[in-house]
């Protein structure tokens, strides 16, 4: 069993990192720029981001590879850099990781819809795309792969879990993205928290969960429902609220303190690993650590 899964199995509540995109935008990433390119062009920023999160108290960080699939990189004309940029993403985070801490290789959605879901993407091709990215992350030394922000649990996500497992044998964390609609919390493709948790567990995920899309109150509802559907460990990366515009600037309303105050409920709901998504930074992680570990970390 992997080091990460052993650690989770001790029952200790673990703390993940905050956002990658938000950090990079504050450190020179142009609007619409390719974040994964920074792994090659600005390695000190990527290493520094991981170091900042570890210093804030994160037990694990995610790699800068969310859009590192061939589908996504090809849109920037970098489809030939998949292996290299994913490997670099993993190596840079690894270099910053203290002994005993973990690196999760991030894989985000392909932006494609499978043929079986009335879209145009071929399942065999998508499988290969996930496997290729996972091999790059594994070559750079990640402890696990985190397939995240997925909207299609029964199609794309299942395919990703199988591809990562078969290509690398690494543990897989699988987190789904919800939206609140008139009838409750659903993914874009119609998965509920219960149905997704069951689907991902069946597909062989080692950790399930949810990230992005909703604020902390709704996330507590998602985790509660997932906990009823599975005994697997649950990870959540939570947005700093829903962004709004103030004087022309984009502001995420949930401060570190405001989020930290609600973390007891996130834990009660059944989460085993807690971190931040869009709008969160090292200061959020610091507040999470302080709240959950009484400032001892």
């Amino acid at each position: 069993m992997s080091r990460l899964l052993n650690r989770i199995a001790t029952g200790e509540l673990l703390i993940s990192d905050g956002a990658t995109g938000t950090y990079l935008q504050n450190n020179g990433l142009e609007p619409g720029g390719c974040p994964e390119e920074f792994n090659a062009s600005r390695p000190e920023v990527i290493r520094g981001m991981a170091a900042a999160y570890f210093e804030a108290g994160s037990d694990m960080v995610e790699t800068n590879s969310f859009g590192g699939s061939r589908y996504m990189l090809a849109k920037y004309g970098h489809g030939d850099r998949v292996e290299e940029w994913n490997r670099l993403a993993a190596e840079l985070a690894r270099e910053a990781a203290p002994e005993g801490c973990f690196v999760l290789g991030s894989i985000g959605p392909t932006g494609e819809i499978l043929e079986e879901k009335a879209g145009t993407a071929d399942a065999g091709e998508m499988y290969e795309v996930f496997a290729e990215q996972a091999r790059g992350l594994a070559a750079g030394g990640v402890d696990a792969v985190c397939v995240e922000t997925m909207s299609d649990a029964t199609g794309e996500m299942k395919l990703a879990i199988r591809a990562v497992k078969e290509a690398t044998g690494l543990p897989v964390v699988a987190t789904v993205c919800y939206d609140r609609g008139p009838r409750g919390l659903f993914t874009m493709m119609g998965d509920t928290p219960q149905s997704a948790a069951e689907t991902l567990a069946e597909a062989g995920a080692d950790v399930v969960g949810s990230n992005c899309g909703i604020a902390i109150g709704d996330m507590i509802e998602v985790i509660t429902a997932m906990r009823q559907a599975t005994d697997l460990p649950i990870l959540t990366h939570i947005n700093a609220g829903i962004p709004r515009i103030e004087a022309g600037a984009i502001v995420y309303p949930d401060t570190p303190e405001l989020m930290a105050e609600q973390l007891d409920r996130v834990v009660e709901a059944g989460a085993n690993i807690i971190g931040g998504c869009c709008g969160t930074g090292p200061e959020h992680v610091r507040a999470f650590v302080s709240r959950l570990r009484g400032g001892s970390a």
């Binding site: 995109g21 619409g32 720029g33 819809i113 008139p182 874009m188 493709m189």
Partner: protein, 249 residues
Amino acid sequence: MADLADIPNEFIRGELDEFVERENERRELIGLYAASAPHLLEIAAAIIDGRNHDADRLTLEALEGGTGALEIMDDGLIAGMALVGIKFRENFIFVPEVLACARAMKAGMVHIEPILAASGVEPLARVIMGTVKGDLHDIGKNLCIMLMRGAGFEVIDLGVDTSADEFIAAVEEHEASVVGMSALLTTTMPNMGHTIEAFIDADLRDDVKIMVGGAPVTPAFADEMGADAYGDNAVECVEVAKRLAGLAG
């Protein structure tokens, strides 16, 4: 006034009764379906059920049987998509089902479009749609386009990463009356405002109505950057486009 029992198609009666909950929409759709011929309701049912082969065959049969192309489009294809949009908005169906319905709509429209074009029938309005500069996401925009086409609009799709110049050139080339901009990223959302400024600089702002949407976009942001309207979802996008084109209250 017509009621549910006047709709001569059992499947559509059931769908309408189960999924259309708002009273004004129920009344409107009951009126629409009760006034439609049974063979056109078969087409609407094929759209609602996402059966593209049936939509293709039934549309051809209706044309061969002498029904006018415009009537088939309005009372069959568009009538079907109207219910699809409501089911989607209310979380009864999701993206895969809408894609299947839109494919069925398209299977019928390929027979209708050339006939309407040849007879000089004008679309409801021409709409330019694109994801703004720097943003490569298009699932939401594409859903909006499908539902707008499903409602009878002619839509010119500029794709992703669309510059202000491309929006402006498309408006001039196609003489469009409405422009729709989409963004998924908070970082590219300001490019909507920049595009609107470019329309002002080009002295074209008064010639078009501009609507915006996308996950991070809010009504307040739409206001602040000077858009004419905001749509929260693909169904609202259609309603907004109709309003901006002067077609509805």
